[in-house]
Symmetry: C2
Subunit: 339 residues, 2 copies
């Protein structure tokens, strides 16, 4: 029997279509992935091609020209050459009838995660993943230091069906001049929940997940990865910090290392269990200056791209998930990581 | 210079990324479409295979066993063999902590639009498109006659990248036991707009579009097709009825014929101008019994599947559209239909 499950964060229902449900292993890609070389001459993100990107805004390790070559780096942050929004634009508004316009002010940077063209987060050394997260934190704070920025999103698109044509491992960080309505609505719902119950909704969800255990994928000291009860799509996964805090950049040093372990392990389980699926992840966080942080709790949402949204999802907002969250979590828990 | 444009229906911003904008013709598929036969022996929707579907609930023309063969039909409506929701299920609710569940009651039917396996709406005779719309109307009323149904969505997925693996032309109609939050939120925003201005927001949008004209694609007697000012994706198109009415099934006979002309012409312009793109469309309508119908206005949203949503869209709700709505509309206006 199918059932509708409620997503308390989005306040939207999800149909868990049990009768046409696929087994977790049905999502394991049977296509042999093409061999990607570790260096591509024409790739603007490969070492030696540093001049093909706009001028670097940050790198690890910081450049010491007397000691190292310009192409010796672990991580680089550069403005997006094809930025959706521009840092140097004025922020202007026009209101005309039902039309409202803001000029394209904003910040759109690329975080080049590694010099290796064919690398992926699951295979990176743990301390390198920690460096990426540390870079996220640093840039998150930097973008919010620009007072005209309304909201900052950190995300990663991995693979063509996840919306990227660039193979070289990278994340993106975009600062928009507005707070997206989607973000504001979720925040309002979280505040409403707090006002009624005096609890953080995400802390409450997490407590229930820990107690039940059936949807947990990876638990580390400070983080817990689990398949949401109302997962939108097959293997949709959340990573919550166990400590309540609303703003990603308040993450402590020891938490960064633990998040690296949790994120790497979760992505490695997807990498092995589903044979290198394309995926997106996004960090959902309050902004540093936002009040009412007792109501919200930042987290990471990982979306392996295994299905296609269609007319029903577009027209209703309700997703049809043709897998069973508990089965997917069990499958991932059992995946052994041989590295 | 990029700009952010506001979508007054969803209350969300869209980034029109002018600087990486593609020309409309860049979206014209260069892949020669594979030849699809007009009949496929194994297709459950092809004539002669009527027993491969669950028992038919409606057909045009109605079956007269003395006069016609069982396989002589223009349109058939059948329950979905792999239904997301079941008509015979009980509607039951369970509430447990943050978990809310509804049993999988609902209705999920398929509208087989034509006996021809390789047909598409753009190429169907006008009166046949009108029969499809008449079928939508009839089934829409029928589904809402079930009092446990909260909301009814009519939609079409055409092509693999639009989320269907079945080639045979078909639409779907799903009745859910709840009103989706997405639908309720839009309704509330429309009511709020009405309360403040005394106007239907969609009537106001339409008046502005007619006055400007730059985004209009096809105008017929009773309908107008245009690219929204804040189109989410390239060639995203809306078809609005010119007369204000909130519920799709209140469409009059002469309006059905005119909608058939508008829909067929709009889809034909996409079919020729973009070389048979995959697409979804969805009918967004109030439910028949809903009060406050002065605030809402039903419409059709068409989404050609030319791009992939990625982490930024998922994490923010803000879409990045790499085309300019006015250019796309101009391009489609100029497409000549040679049939």
């Amino acid at each position: 029997m199918p059932e509708l499950r409620f997503n308390p964060i989005t306040k939207e229902w999800v149909i868990i279509a049990t009768e046409r449900a696929k087994r977790p292993e049905d999502f394991k890609s049977r296509v042999r992935k093409k061999d990607i070389p570790h260096f591509v001459d024409t790739c603007p993100f490969c070492p030696g091609n540093e001049t093909k990107t706009p001028e670097e805004v940050y790198r690890i390790p910081e450049l010491d020209q007397s000691l190292q070559a310009a192409s010796e780096w672990k991580i680089r942050v550069v403005p997006n050459k094809f930025a959706a929004l521009h840092r140097k634009a004025e922020k202007m508004r026009i209101n005309e009838g039902t039309k409202h316009i803001i000029s394209g002010f904003g910040i759109h940077d690329i975080i080049i995660e590694t010099p290796l063209h064919n690398m992926t987060t699951a295979l990176l050394p743990l301390d390198h993943v920690a460096e990426i997260i540390r870079t996220y934190k640093r840039r998150f704070i930097e973008l919010y230091s620009e007072p005209k920025i309304g909201h900052v999103i950190i995300f990663k698109n991995h693979g063509e069906s996840a919306g990227t044509s660039l193979e070289h491992p990278h994340s993106q960080i975009i600062g928009t001049p507005v707070t997206p309505s989607q973000v504001r609505n979720r925040m309002e719902e979280a505040i409403r929940f707090f006002d009624i119950t005096g609890e953080c909704m995400l802390c409450k969800i997490m407590a229930e997940e820990k107690k039940e255990g059936t949807r947990v994928v990876v638990e580390t000291e400070y983080f817990i990865a689990f398949i949401p009860y109302a997962a939108l799509t097959p293997f949709h996964t959340w990573i919550f910090p166990k400590r309540h805090f609303a703003v990603f950049s308040d993450i402590a040093d020891e938490e960064i290392l633990d998040l690296a372990l949790n994120l790497k392990t979760t992505l490695a389980k997807l990498y092995i269990g589903l044979n290198e699926p394309d995926f997106n992840y996004v960090i959902r966080s309050n902004r540093p200056t936002d009040a009412r942080s007792e109501c919200f709790h930042w987290y990471i949402s990982i979306i392996p791209r295994l299905t296609t949204t269609a007319g029903f999802e577009m027209g209703s907002g309700i997703f049809i998930n043709t897998t069973i969250p508990e089965e997917n979590a069990e499958y991932l828990r059992e995946v052994k990581i041989p590295f």
